[in-house]
Assembly symmetry: C2
Homo-oligomer: 426 residues x 2
């Protein structure tokens, strides 16, 4: 038992040390070499479709035997379409501009030294994730393109799939003459290996957990390495006193129903008391027609009941719940300020919108709501790396340090100051 633990620890430490060494090489690897790897990997994914499906089949079989839910099995499954999408994703990252080496700022000191702030890779990034195997490829290529070495620790449900994907990645690295240790999968899902990994703050610069709240919280509490968290999205739309009802209806329906399972879909709707009577019945009916369950406060209940629109009482906990389902909490608020307070109190500071024709109210909302993305007259569904022009994203950070909102290649970078002088001293 103890021997196994020690072996595991040493294995993980070795992986981290190799990653650190690889990161120093990657930091100065030219764009063309990184792109050649991405090209090769995309090809290999396509030509290995059959092998991928065989290994994935083993995971599906084991998952089925272990009673994984249909939803989880679906996440886990690799189809021809999904394999093709993976390859396409790799080529999209190849086509993104290389963030490394870009000058962010420049200062000329009075004494003649030039101080340039230059974007550089973070170094070694650890990705801790759950069942979706596409994360293995997505995160690897985003880290590689931004010059970072990646250490991947996937979930046990996808172990066979992740293993074959990581061996494809290693082969593509070899064939492109990049360090093999640039991307490494922890070859076990033993929890003790994870515990060791999360303490290696000398080798690993950053941990990004991707998965449910439980996983993220565990990682954040255990790790001595800085963690960039991607918590849940409890997003809201607030309908202000003066607005275009058709626009309000379109935005609420889109934000709730277009894809209820994603983090930028809304869970809460707040309506100003002055317009609740006039606007809630129509919007309530639109939502019900789309199969949305309404959980409402007493004021909203009074209005909806008068119009015979089905609803149930909202509980205190409901306001902070991420349903990721066709459920919406609805409340009537006495003022713009009350709406801002409710969003800052119950929301997860992800994406929140106001619908209003009053520019002053809009600006108060945009400044006062302390969320990563705030919207005036648009759906919260636009919070996304592609929509923001960042290209692919490694996640949507709910942290305020380093990266907030969608994280693309630039957000996978740090910076350094490069100073050139002619002998200056202080």
């Amino acid at each position: 038992m103890t021997e196994i633990a020690t072996d595991l620890e040493q294995q993980v430490q070795k992986i981290a040390a190799q990653a650190r060494a690889a990161s120093l090489v990657l930091a100065t690897t030219p764009t063309a070499a990184k792109n050649a790897f991405l090209d090769r990997l995309a090809e290999m994914i396509e030509t290995s479709a059959e092998q991928l499906k065989v290994e994935n089949g083993k995971d599906l079989e084991a998952g089925d035997a272990n009673g994984l839910s249909t939803a989880l099995l679906d996440r886990l499954r690799l189809t021809d379409k999904r394999i093709a999408d993976m390859a396409t994703g790799v080529r999209q990252v190849r086509d993104l501009p290389d963030p490394v080496g870009v000058e962010i700022e420049r200062t000329e000191h009075a004494n003649g030294i030039s101080i340039r702030k230059i974007r550089v890779p973070i170094g070694v990034v650890g990705i801790i994730y759950e069942s979706r195997p596409n994360v293995t490829v997505d995160c690897s290529v985003l880290c590689l393109k931004s010059g970072n070495a990646a250490i991947l620790r996937g979930g046990k449900e996808a172990f066979h799939t992740n293993t074959v994907l990581s061996s494809l990645i290693r082969k593509a690295l070899q064939e492109s003459s990049l360090p093999e240790a640039a991307v490494q999968l922890i070859p076990t899902t033993d929890r003790r290996a994870l515990l060791t990994l999360l303490k290696l703050d000398e080798q690993i610069d950053c941990i990004i957990p991707r998965g449910g709240e439980g996983l993220i919280r565990f990682v954040a509490e255990t790790s001595t390495i800085p963690v960039i968290k991607h918590y849940k999205g409890v997003c809201a739309v607030y309908l202000d006193r003066r607005l275009d009802p058709a626009m309000a209806d379109a935005i609420v329906i889109n934000a709730k129903c277009q894809r209820p399972s994603v983090c930028n879909a809304i869970e809460n709707l707040f309506v100003h008391a002055d317009i609740a009577e006039s606007i809630l019945p129509a919007i309530g009916r639109s939502l019900i027609d789309r199969g949305v369950e309404l959980r409402v406060d007493p004021a909203a209940a009074a209005i909806l009941s008068r119009h015979e629109i089905e609803c149930t009482p909202v509980s205190e906990e409901d306001w902070s719940e991420e349903y990721i389902d066709l459920i919406l909490a609805v409340g009537v608020v006495p003022s713009l300020k009350a709406a801002i307070d409710a969003i800052n109190t119950f929301g997860s500071a992800h994406s929140d919108a106001i619908v209003t024709s009053d520019p002053e109210a809009a600006e108060t909302f945009l400044a006062g709501v302390d969320s990563a993305t705030v919207y005036w007259n648009a759906s919260t569904r636009f919070t996304d790396g592609f929509e923001f022009g960042l290209g692919a994203e490694i996640g949507i950070s709910t942290d305020k340090l380093h990266a907030r909102g969608p994280m693309g290649l630039k957000e996978l970078c740090s910076y350094k100051y490069v100073i050139r002088g002619t002998g200056q001293i202080r």
Copy 2:
């Protein structure tokens, strides 16, 4: 015992909740109101000099009784000059541009929405520090100017001084109609209060420990809140094969001797084997003349001994030691690559310099050394917020996430995306 602990916990939780509420107000407080506070505070510090010295005297007396070293007592002491400097520091921060609300980037989406990335305060910043009472004022005003609420936890040695300083700050906040909870001092140095504070990740967005390595390590390991670390500076100068000997001498002497107690002074000197024979004796003598103790590897020892220059053998641990004293470790390296490897292995990734007349070697060094600041032909002593044009600094980060190197007002900010539309949906 348990009752006291519970009371303490509640007190700290209340402070954090008040800070959170204050931070939402500060986020939209205009520059003029923040500057009015800074003006008022600078005045109050000047007019309270006598009271400050009386309270500081209590700390000095207690420190003396408890056997504090002369160096620590000196750090703790407020003199008329230091009080005047504090007020000057506050006015310098007043004169810096307000970082909040500045547009960092803007994207126009094809569908017509505008996506603006805007600088906003981090929110609530906790500062954990040791004996210097000027940190109380410096950190408070940097946080306030950048729109952050600050929670201060100072060391017990400066308790009386910190208490009177924080009451001046509170009074200045009141008189400027800013929330009193914008800056709060934890009114006890009981360690249990600190332990509670470091777990309040719902209210506090960021912890900045300022002090020795032990304090920083404790905070980083205990906190569930993101920590920006300011570890030691183990900096180096590397003398390359081709260089101007006079420049090399001037840079080494300046980097080691001008102020050996600061983190951007060097602890290690590496010399290319090709020039060691010709350059080491003169530089060794310059250093000895300034009272520097040389700890050298066998190759350097052979050269220095032939010239009868005093030196002692360097140990493996010496290379990673921050002496903050007139001691220098000296090694001869066979190549530029070996110098880069040694710096990446033993240094603390703070500030490192190459002296060379070979541009290619310089660029290899600047790209390959993984440090926050890298220099070509200039002294490492320039790593400083004022020198970099950031104005005052809250510290020099040795982390790679969020902020690296000197942290000024901008580095005390996060950002948010502000999206304005005309009804766009996805």
